[in-house]
Amino acid sequence: MKDGGMNDNKKNKPKQSNTEWYFFGAVALTYVIVAIVKGNLALKSLSTAGGIFLNILPAFGIIFAAMWLVNYFVDKKTVKKILGVRSGPKRWLIAVISGVLSTGPIYAWYPLLNDLRKKGLDYGFIATFLYNRAVKLPLLPLFIYYFSPTFTGVLLGVMVIVSILQGLLFVQLENAGLV
């Protein structure tokens, strides 16, 4: 094993936290209460949630493969060289394009971003990536249908610029130790 091997793994081992289970427990409890008050609503909600699960499963497959590849090929040095604060303006282009092209729900990407964060990815890049997930290329025709091509073009242009500004803001906040 390269790059620190076992010691690195120990250092990167996440702190044990039960927050995620408390959150899940709170949602489950809400369902129990809804089921007691309005059983039909709870059943319909469960069915809707089941449908969402099925829809996002393929995205998790892609993200799992991406995480595996990132863990295998990408180390701290690579992240800093290609995506690091000192790698120049191209990193913003990478953040914008990868954000636009990424598919599936936003929460499916958190484990991969967390892995990259441990390898040295800064919050500025992550913020820009997450903002650009708002731009959904496959849904553009639908957006143009409801609004107009001019509105769509202007909004997307403004959003891309703002995403980079938000990224730059987070670089400053991280440098100042505020995040």
């Binding site: 094993m1 995620e20 809400t30 069915s47 809707t48 499916a108």
Partner: protein, 138 residues
């Protein structure tokens, strides 16, 4: 080969750690989608441009789901005479702010998740303002 297997194990661990959070978020989304009809949102707007923009951004922040749903609701709001500014704030915050996903995003750092969502909320109103201003010039 060891490194390849170890990379796979870390990927599995990363995803399995997210199971309770992702399950919770999906269940919550299912409940909100079922309990709140789309027509409910139209009634929230007051007819004041600035207040409506904040309402639009707030509603968009609280709701989650496929972006296509926000386009349909946004289109419906425009048809009912709600201004482009509040509707744009609603559309932008729907896809950039995620109150429901906040517990999941916290894996990246609680402070980061909170600050990113707060700044995204403010930026949603700003993006709406800039977009409508530019459209006015065209």
């Amino acid at each position: 080969m060891d490194k390849f297997i170890s990379a796979g194990r870390r990927a599995v661990r990363g995803l399995t750690n997210m199971i309770p959070i992702v399950s919770g978020v999906v269940l919550l989304v299912g409940l909100i989608k079922t309990a709140v009809p789309e027509s409910f949102y139209t009634g929230l707007f007051q007819g004041h441009l600035f207040a409506d923009s904040l309402i639009g951004a707030s509603v968009g922040s609280l709701l989650t789901g496929n972006a296509a749903t926000s386009y349909i609701i946004g289109g419906e709001l425009t048809d009912k005479g709600i201004g482009l500014l509040p509707v744009t704030a609603f559309l932008v915050s729907w896809v950039t702010v995620g109150i429901v996903q906040l517990p999941a995003e916290s894996v990246l750092g609680k402070k980061f998740a909170l600050l990113r969502n707060v700044t995204s909320f403010i930026l949603a109103v700003a993006v709406a303002g800039i977009t409508v201003f530019i459209l006015g010039l065209l």
